[in-house]
Amino acid sequence: MADIKPDDYEWIRQFLYTQCANDLGQGKEYLISSRLGAVAREAGLADISALVTSLKARPLGGPLHQKVMEAMTTNETSFFRDGHPFAALEKQIIPRFLSSNSGRPLRIWCAASSTGQEPYTIAMVLRTNFPDVANRARILCTDVNATVLKRTTEGVYSQLEVNRGLPAQMLVRYFERAGANWRAKAELRSMMDPRVMNLAVPWIGIQPQDIVFLRNVLIYFDAKTKREIVTRIRNTLAPGGVLFIGGSESILGMDEGLSREQFGMSTVYRRAA
């Protein structure tokens, strides 16, 4: 693949920023080549430059724009990623919710749910340890990438995906074979409430949430966007609600109205009750 022209780089950077607030920064030519090369080929275009020319000539929001945006998001995820947040959920967070609650349904939001391994992990923790809670819980799953979100609806995972992080006991209990793949059983799929959503755009109509997972997505935003999103998430948390962020992420200095709590290896942020 030929080198990427500075103008084309800048156009793609701007495009991503307006579409999903992802801040590509500088020096990511290799990322563009590796991720958009295939998109260009598939569209019958010679190279990235031809792809950018074609994008400029089309209305924003069309299928090619969509493909480019989706190809540029990083969707890396796995079942039980990092482990300890789900231990904290099981041992501390949900028991506390139950002890302080009148029996209303638990509301959980996976705010960048990618291909769904994170919400399905939460669903398995609930079904296994708190079946009554699971019966009444819906997990709001949002992502800006409609293609990965569709996989959450389908709940179908390849062998390579179920090999990663999913205990064999959980695999046989909650999944069934679907050809060469594995499909989550209806008792998990029915808990998913998937919606396409850009976190960088103020949202309306999301009910107060008891638990928000906002993991491994803040890293793609600049400081201003990050602060805005964290503030909106805080305002969306129910009183006493908690926020999980990724293990390598920090919201230091953006956590007004949130108190830090440590559960083993997990840090969570709680909104005052």
Partner: protein, 124 residues
Amino acid sequence: MRFLVIDDSRAIRSLIIRMLKELGHQHAEAGNGREALDIIANNGPFDAALVDWNMPVMTGIQFVEAARAKPELAGMQIMMITTETEVERIQQALALGATEYLMKPFTREAFADKLAMMGLDKAA
């Protein structure tokens, strides 16, 4: 940690052993279940056995049964690493006492994740 790698394919044994070394673990190897039991008899138990299913002389599932019949091996975890991917097979292995199950082919990340889940991520 000390691992016993049991597979009739030399190539697969070396692949697994390379991953173990990268993670800082020690290992011994065996080409079938019988050989593995002999090694254990001579060297004492391992922290974990990583076991193929289909092998001559003594299969992986026979090894699981034999190992679980020995109280002195109760603390040894067993992970099946196999091309057998039917639900019934996985259930059978777990019911007989396998701790975990990894389906071939697998990635290095999947392998490391499984060891971490089993609490076997600390180097020797």
